[in-house]
């Protein structure tokens, strides 16, 4: 291989005149973190609602939640994002579509990715919540009911506290995936970490340095998430339940 390595490239001024190349990566990192955290918080809320809905006795909420989960879980994220960005505005009434398209482009791209990433992530996480609830013996719910609790109270005080503890490990994976999946933002022009890495590699002609740096940054982020989730798992342990000694 004939490749001229230059690790100082991150300190060299960018040809676009926007400061050093390293700053490009930092800006990208900022978008990645903002986007992923917001998407995860929103997705967790939706997942909780959809996951619970899939286990409720009523037919309508079960059907609605199942439809949502199947649609969003089974279509590739890239396709979903393309649909949200290019197709949805064309389906809306013309004045709405134009209003969306004439927004500040960065805000528009950010909101589009946020919606796409949130709904996709939530659909997957909803299945974890449902699996957690289903893993509990039916007798738990029956016992709660026998004690006089209504459905809402049974979920609030008996089912969810156990189910959510059970699904912390698989949820950790979903949380990690949000950060990695957020890279699809670059396909509609939001320059998050991967997007800026590509820019850096194009402008500076140092692709290997750029992608190695991005890899390390992603590893740091995901390792941070793992440590955080592990702490949450340890702190929320209840003696006598799964995972405690």
């Amino acid at each position: 291989m004939q490749y001229s390595w230059d690790w100082f490239v991150f300190f060299k001024p960018s040809v676009t005149g926007d400061g050093p190349y390293g700053l490009m990566l930092l800006r990208g990192l900022g978008w990645t973190i903002l986007l992923s955290l917001l998407a995860w918080i929103l997705a967790f809320g939706i997942a909780l609602a959809a996951g619970v809905a899939r286990t409720l006795p009523g037919r309508l909420p079960r059907f609605a939640a199942a439809t949502y989960v199947h649609c969003f879980r089974n279509v590739p994220l890239l396709v979903q994002l393309f649909l949200w960005y290019f197709v949805v505005p064309e389906l809306l009434p013309v004045s709405w579509g134009n209003a969306i398209k004439q927004m500040n482009p960065t805000t528009n791209q950010f909101l589009t990715v946020l919606v796409g990433l949130t709904l996709y992530t939530a659909a997957k996480a909803a299945e974890q919540v449902r699996a957690g609830i289903d893993s509990l013996p039916v007798s738990q719910k029956q016992a709660a009911m026998a004690l006089g609790l209504g459905t809402a109270a049974a979920y609030r005080h008996v089912i969810l506290p156990q189910a959510l503890r059970i699904v912390i490990p698989p949820m950790t994976s979903d949380f990690l995936n949000v950060f990695k999946n957020s890279a699809v933002a670059l396909t509609i022009g939001l320059m998050e970490l991967t997007g800026q890495t590509r820019q850096l590699s194009e402008f500076s002609a140092h692709p290997f340095e750029a992608f190695i740096a991005a890899t390390l940054v992603y590893m740091l982020i995901t390792y941070g998430v793992i440590v955080l989730m592990r702490q949450i798992e340890l702190r929320t342990r209840v003696p006598g339940l799964l995972g405690s000694r």
Binding site: Q2, S4, V15, P105, T187, Q199, F203
Partner: protein
Amino acid sequence: MIPKFTNRLAVAVAGLALAATVGAQPLDGTLKKIKETGSITLGTRIASVPFNYLDDNNKQAGFSWEIAQHVVEQVKKDLKLVKLDVKAIELTPQTRIPLVANQTVDLECSSTTNNLERQNQVSFSNTFFVVGARLLVRKNSGIKHWSDLVGKNVVVSAGTTAERILRQLNEQNKWGINIILAKDINENFLTVETGRAVAAMQDDIILYSNIARAKNPADWQVVGIPQHKEAYACMLRKGDAAFKKVVDGVIAGMMKSGEFEKLYNKYYLKPIAVKGGVTINFPMPPDMEELIKNPNDRPL
């Protein structure tokens, strides 16, 4: 280790001296690899119309692709090979430089700009095309000049020289343009077609090729004086003077023999097998006429 190394060095020096005295060029680099393996690896693109693309019959075609075929013929002749296998590897703008630098690909002829940053990693052949960045707008948009873009949304392909120039122009003139980045040339056109941007900035030839493939070519026009000239050239591994000489020779030879102009007419003025047959209709710019008279490998 040291004596061994000295030995090797001595052999190498003796070898060099021998070669010099005999006056024969020992094969090395790409040509050596081609001779030993009996194959050459070309980098290809699927949608860089009309430089290198898959046509309606799903076959590789294009102006640059044919130049690469001429190089293959020349190499076969020079190395006196009976048979030379051509392997094709599909590239994207992101993968082309790493794959040429790490020697997976021997020759990449598509629509790659020769510039100084890239010359750190790879070498470039003689220039075969000269482009300038311009604007694609709807005819009824009222935009005629660069200065009409003030405060508007303009789309540009991410990581291209066009992006670099647009950012500089925007900064210097305080135009307040919102720059939208598109990931490739098709998405670039989609962005202006769906009205997210009033103008698309790209290399002029790509704009003409987008218009030719548009649903309604009559709706579109290219405006604005060309901003920055760029030279498209074939990319090969760095410092391989012998192979570069072959590629340069082929391009200069085609320019001299008139074959280059024939090829130009075939792809830029006559119908090509894309979307059932479209014509790009891009008369040869003066810079290219100059280039044909005076082939060179200078980045612009």
